[in-house]
């Protein structure tokens, strides 16, 4: 009996030892992968440090700041009209939209309001820059997933929108067109007809992308159920814009705020999606381009007559005070906290940019996904480096 017991015990120990050896042999070493700062999928110089087990992410962390340009500090040594030249380089794909909240903040402090025509034109240009921005996202989405063709369609059709913006403001990427109290100029001749036809082209582009990309089974299998962000997590991490609406939160600053802009004067819908996955985020953006074209079309039809500039002094001095104004920019909520001490320039400006908050969810959402999904999730979160690093 004891003999058998000993033998059993020996056999047990031997099997344990063998198991242990196998485990030691099979234990794989983790690998730290630096995605970026120079990597084709990071739209610039975002660095993501990912700890991998095989192809699975154990943890990941974004490391921002490789392109920090110090705009908050620079605004302190500029006058108010000069600041727009800086801030429209923050989200460089939708630059006009960057100028608007800052100008609105300064106007709020001064107690000035732009005339109705200027408000309309501001809203039109704001939505045009949203279309230019998001249509490029839709093309880039294909590249991130390995489909090369959509990006060329996106560049082709974005060009029409950029031509419109250039025609109205003189600048393709950096319009620098917004002024405290209104706009630099009125719209050029023929702008309305041209814009109507371009909006039709953009709606065709949306159909094209929907057929080419969103209807594709491979695209759906790569994005559906990947990178799911539930409602409460999205709110906790301070997501905004389409990323938040894709998680089912009905929140749009264009509708919810009473700003001196023209969004509330036309008929459009806030798009939400209940899923919160990568597909939902991309789908919401696609639908928002369609809504934007609707907004632009309606605003052009109801454009009021009148001046585009309110009466403001030649040298602008903003009275002492503090104001925070944020708008629903292409990437999400963008706001400026302007502190004035009665000088020609702001005393301090704090920029709340959408992408900086949106990528704060990256460590949470990338945990446990595979390397290829890092790229689709990052692409669907849609950040622009200038908007992160400012």
């Amino acid at each position: 009996m004891t003999m058998l017991g000993d033998r059993q015990q020996l056999a047990y120990i031997a099997s344990q030892a063998a198991d242990a050896r196998v485990n030691v042999e099979l234990e794989t070493e983790g690998m730290t992968l630096n995605i970026g700062p120079q990597h084709p999928a990071t739209h610039g110089t975002l660095r993501i440090i990912a700890r991998l087990d095989g192809e699975q992410v154990v943890w990941a962390e974004p490391s921002a700041g490789y392109m920090h340009r110090g705009y908050e500090k620079l605004t302190e040594v500029r006058t108010y009209p000069q600041v727009t030249a800086l801030v429209n380089r923050i989200d460089w794909l939708g630059s006009f939209a960057n100028e608007v909240p800052f100008i609105l903040g300064a106007e709020k402090l001064m107690g000035v309001e732009a005339p109705a025509r200027a408000q309309h034109i501001r809203t039109i240009l704001f939505e045009l820059s949203r279309i230019a921005n998001v249509s490029l996202f839709l093309g880039d989405l294909g590249v991130q997933l390995g489909a090369v063709t959509p990006v060329f369609f996106a560049f082709r059709d974005r060009e029409y929108v950029l031509n419109l913006i250039e025609g109205a403001t003189g600048g393709r990427f950096h319009p620098n067109f917004d002024r405290i109290g209104g706009l630099k100029d009125d719209l050029p001749a023929g702008f309305i007809e041209e814009t109507h036809s371009v909006m039709k082209k953009l709606r065709n582009f949306c159909d094209e992308i929907e057929n080419l990309l969103f209807g594709n089974e491979i695209f759906q299998s790569r994005t559906r159920g990947i990178g799911v962000i539930p409602k409460d997590i999205a709110l906790q991490y301070g997501l905004s814009g389409a990323n938040l609406r894709a998680s089912g939160v009905d929140w749009d600053l264009r509708r919810d705020q009473d700003l001196p802009m023209a969004w509330n004067k036309v008929d459009w819908n806030v798009i939400t999606h209940p899923d919160g996955d990568s597909f939902a985020r991309c789908w919401v953006r696609l639908q928002e381009v369609r809504e934007s074209t609707k907004i632009v079309d309606q605003l052009l039809d109801t454009l009021p007559a009148g001046p585009v500039m309110a009466k403001v002094p030649k040298i602008i001095k903003v009275p002492e005070g503090e104001a925070f104004v944020s708008t629903e920019n292409p990437l999400g909520e963008m706001g400026y906290y302007v502190v004035s001490q009665g000088d020609q320039g702001p005393f301090r400006v704090k920029i709340r940019s959408a992408s900086f908050n949106n990528i704060s969810i990256v460590p949470w959402v990338l945990k446990g996904v595979y390397v290829p999904d890092i790229i689709t999730i990052l692409a669907s979160l849609y950040f622009i480096l200038g908007d992160i690093d400012r």
Binding site: M31, L33, H39, P40, A41, E55, G142, V143, Q144, L145, G146, A147, V148, T149, F152, F153, R156, L212, L213, N216, I218, F219, S221, R222, Y370, V371, P372, D373, I374, I375
Partner: protein
């Protein structure tokens, strides 16, 4: 007569001719595919013109590109120094696999390099040599992205070897031979239920095998939607990331030459190879074929190859890519059962008729 002509040349002359023929058979399809599809078709699909400056309609662009690559420095990264010899060898292995593959393709009744009895078996065997080259390239680059790319490529190419072999088995059963030349003859002299107007190209009777084979070819070539070993947006360029200059060029030529050669093998297996249906000329065997088919045959095969490469490239330019695990699932749960069912059905029908 052609064979007699060849045997009158001394052995070294024959060998030289074969080497030159091999170079033409690999480089000509590669160049055509790159210019016609990668440069021009892709551009037209993407609403742009593509290269237009070098030569008429940019037709000399290819030579400009090759010249550019040849001028570039041949860089070996510092971390790859200890294994520099292996690092430098890898692209050559990939290209060698293409040359080994083209050896068995019959271009005409006598226009062939070798007439293996087990030609298709050999072709499937040497096509996996490129995996070694890719794995070596991925490992010896001493780069994490390259390593991931190399490992992905190895997993993918092994997974897709199997459906490819199984798809070919259907053709082999129907033709009753593994000799590629005999497969061509069997298709061109065959008949479908007594109707011999178009011979019996196996694309009709073996349609399932054809589709499975083409999907597996797409994966073997690591073209989108199966291009995750290269995956520019994730792995920068996968196993080719660290290569520059003419070694990158060799990878590049290898990729498109293999596309051409695989398309040739597919047209030999499924589209009737170098022949048009023999019944049109009253032929029944290969012996009765006139010498001019040695000139016409390669052109016919080339045309069929272009048609197949067109489909490969069309899919490449319009599809996003799979994820690694989805690709494996697609191979093991989708393609292999279908291919097995096809083999069973073919065997039953072969015995029944």
């Amino acid at each position: 007569m052609f064979a007699a002509l060849l045997s009158s040349i001394p052995y070294w002359g024959q060998s030289l001719l074969r080497v030159l023929g091999g170079l033409v058979a690999v480089l000509l399809p590669a160049g055509t595919v790159v210019y016609l599809f990668l440069f021009k078709m892709m551009s037209f699909m993407q609403s742009r013109l593509g290269p237009m400056e070098a030569g008429p309609y940019g037709s000399m662009q290819l030579f400009a590109e090759v010249g550019k690559w040849l001028q570039k420095e041949d860089i070996v990264p510092d971390a790859a120094r200890p294994e520099a010899r292996i690092f430098k060898l890898a692209p050559l292995i990939v290209l060698a696999s293409t040359f080994l593959l083209v050896v068995v393709v019959p271009f005409g009744p006598d226009a062939l390099f070798t007439n293996f009895e087990t030609g298709i078996f050999y072709a499937l065997a040497v096509s996996s040599v490129s995996v070694l080259g890719i794995l070596i390239a991925g490992w010896s680059s001493a780069n994490k992205y390259s390593l991931l790319g190399g490992l992905r490529a190895a997993g993918q190419l092994i997974a897709y070897e199997l459906p490819m072999v199984l798809a070919v088995v259907g053709v082999v059963i129907q033709a009753g031979t593994m000799n590629l030349q005999q497969i061509v003859v069997a298709q061109n002299t065959g008949s479908i239920f007594g109707f011999d107007g178009i011979g019996n190209p196996y694309v009709i009777t073996q349609f399932v095998a054809f589709i499975v084979f083409m999907i597996a070819v797409q994966a073997e070539l690591t073209q989108t939607p199966f291009d995750m070993p290269i995956a520019e947006s994730e792995l920068v360029s996968g196993y080719m990331t660290e290569y520059s200059g003419f070694r990158f060029l060799i990878f590049f030529i290898g990729e498109f030459a293999t596309a051409g050669v695989f398309a040739m093998i597919a047209s030999v297996l499924f589209l009737g190879g170098w022949g048009v249906p023999f019944s049109w000329f009253g032929w029944t065997t290969i012996d009765s074929i006139d010498n001019w088919m040695n000139v016409g045959g390669p052109l016919i095969l080339f045309t069929k190859m272009l048609v197949l490469v067109f489909f490969i490239m069309w899919i490449r330019f319009s599809f996003p890519r799979f994820r690694e695990d989805q690709l494996q699932r697609f191979a093991w749960k989708g393609l292999i059962p279908i291919a097995l069912a096809n083999i069973m059905l073919t065997a039953v029908l072969k015995v029944a008729f």
